[in-house]
Amino acid sequence: PHFIISINDRSDAICFNIDGKPGAILNVVTDPSTDFVVNGELIGEKKIEKNVKMNTYFGKFGIVNNQMDMKVEVSTKMITVFHGEDKIIFPWSSTASLTKESFSISIAKEKNLTLTMGDDATFVIVLHRVWKNHPLHRDFLGFYTLDSHRLSNRTHGLLGQFYREVNAEIYNIRPGLDQGKPDATMIVKGHKLRVTRGYQKDYRLDPKRGTNIPCWFVHYNGKGFIDGIPTDYVVTSLF
């Protein structure tokens, strides 16, 4: 999956990929103060072609709000809401909303799911439908943070660590290896990194074609930009 992080008061963006194995579960957000967790499970293509690097995507998300005793599992097939021992299963074909005090989930049929925790945080999960007979690709999910201002400073995870404002300095913009994709040097979190200008897609408004977001791409699984290495974010279960 690819990640896009706004920097410098949303004036620019950093992007990076995380390559993982299908089936691996990555921690996306953890806030120990509010007991809120988002984990995502990776899926691969239907077939692996020889000598081609396999792309992975998020195929399932597990969202836990322990304060509300709620868990939500979002897969490309359905959305399951657990409350204690009870569970409710929505298909993506339904337009529905479920609210419990300030916690709410709204499903826009075959499009997206918005998860709101009062005025604390709002997230959107976008469903990407692929032609079901496509030889390689399969349906996948995208996760977007619309608002996270009430999550605590202790929030971490592949996305969560960037909920605090990220300050990055970019300088020495120079021609890159690919024409039209300049390189630059970025200083962030005390590291000096080579980054490459590129585009990544934001699918919130146009789930089919997406919107191009110009960003500085951090190579090698976001090395130096993310805390630690990708395997530090691997967890054993969705919840």
Binding site: H83, D86, F90, S94, T95, A96, S97, L98, K100
Partner: protein
Amino acid sequence: TEEHGKKRDLEIHAMKIESKVSSRFAHTVVISQVLNRANVSKEAFFEIELPKTAFITNFSMTLDGVTHVGVVKEKEVAQKQYQQAVSRGQTAGLVKVSGRKMEKFKVSVNIGPNKKVIFELTYEELLKRHLGAYEMQIRVKPQQLVNHFQIDVHIFEPQGIAFLNVDANFLTNNLTSIVKKTLTGTKAHVSFKPTLEQQRKCPDCHETILDGDFIIKYDVNRDLSAGSVQVVNGYFVHHFAPANLARIPKNVIFVIDHSGSMSGTKMRQTNEALVKILGDMDTKDHFGIIIFDDNIDTWKDTIFQATLENVFEAKKFVKTISARGGTNINDAMVKAVRLLDKAYQDKQLPERSVSMIILLTDGHPNSGESNPTRIQQNVKNVADGKYNVYCLGFGYDVNYNFLEIMALENNGVARRIYEDSDAPLQLQGFYDEVANPLLLDIEFQYPENAISESTQANFKHLFAGSEIVVAGKIVDNSLDYLRADVIAKTANENLTLQAEVKISGAENITQQQQYIFGDFTERLWAYLTIQQLLEKRISAETDEKKNLTDRILELSLKYSFVTPLTSMVVTKPEENKNDTFVADKPSEDEKVARPSFPGHSMVDSD
């Protein structure tokens, strides 16, 4: 068509039962062709049993090429003709209650020598989802071998058919293959066409095996969504029974009559059923037991959670209940309400749960407050809409009308429990219907100015295995999409579901099907409206009752439904004179026919 070596005078040449079901609305036509092979006139009978929930919509008989069609009239008008028929000594009253689920329609006509008559009866019903399936019952009883016998059922369900089962209790194992069943997504076809040989009970005899019920059960695909909305010819129908919901805990007080009249089989069956029901309770549920005769006794005087220990104790208590004394329904019901009230005050019960009182009685109140109207008022006042009251009338002597009003006034239903060997199963069957609440306070919303004359759109509960149906008229001609919102409460959350249907698209789909009768949504709407108004009328005050009566009558006449307020007048062609027959719909408060007892043989002129 020989019988004991002799030619049968009257021969059923052909019998065809054809049913078309679309979105649970079933339109059934029964056609029977009878030949008189004798040299003298003979009286031919046409006797059909149809479901009590169905409305007859048409009847005709064709004799000598002339068709005589039944006309639906206001009951009072029809009664005048009926009186004339009675005064001439003719049989009238064509429809009789027949057992638990069926009504019997019967006419006869004289056929001249070597002549034939064709009877054709049409009825319609909305199949109700019951314990997770729609059931269509066709009673087959031709009483003789039929040259051309055929049952054809076509089903169209836009949601897709999840399963389809066909069962006929008269078919032996080697004959089940005669029933042809095809199922492809949204369509199903069931066909049963036995040859003369296949109808024979034994190779050389003339008795028919065709005597029993042909039952089709099916369900549609469902998920957690706002359900299916269909629009045809300016009318919409919305079916709602979502899947994948968590059950809501319930609190139930069993109020059990153990008066003297319950002694013997009824008490034993009640105890047996209660033991089973208690065993089936979910551990999150709460329950209490009140037993009454002249006196009111409670099991431990409070409500308990249905833990294994509590259920075990309750079962022990239930086994000791024996019959004696009179019938004090009033105090028992008031006590049940008080128990629930107290449990709520003491915060014993889950915040979101369904509370209900299930009354089982076999008789009339004759102890304490014995005036039925005052009992109804008392129960209504104390329950105050907080608790559902379900009344089960056990046996033949019960005051069913009184129980029905009491239940309807308190968001419940009444049900007869027939005195038979399967009474415990009937009790459990009823309990299973209300055992698993899934949603509370369900509200259906449609664009306010776009629709009118909607059927009931607010419901207190949805139980697992059932279905809610709402229908209405579309009055906004420029409406392209009909949006339906369903707002309800689940066990823990508030739920909103939304469906949107493109009106022209929906109409096109139905037209393309060329499979069903086109105006079914309109007729379904009329049927549902009449059924709901009839139910409302049972407990309505005088002024409201008149308005309801007028509206039911108007719709029944417009759509040609034989309802409790209308009759079908059939003019019977006879030699040199016309006689009139009147088909009425029997009501549930009429006495149920007692079963005949073995040992008493009956002989009639036939």
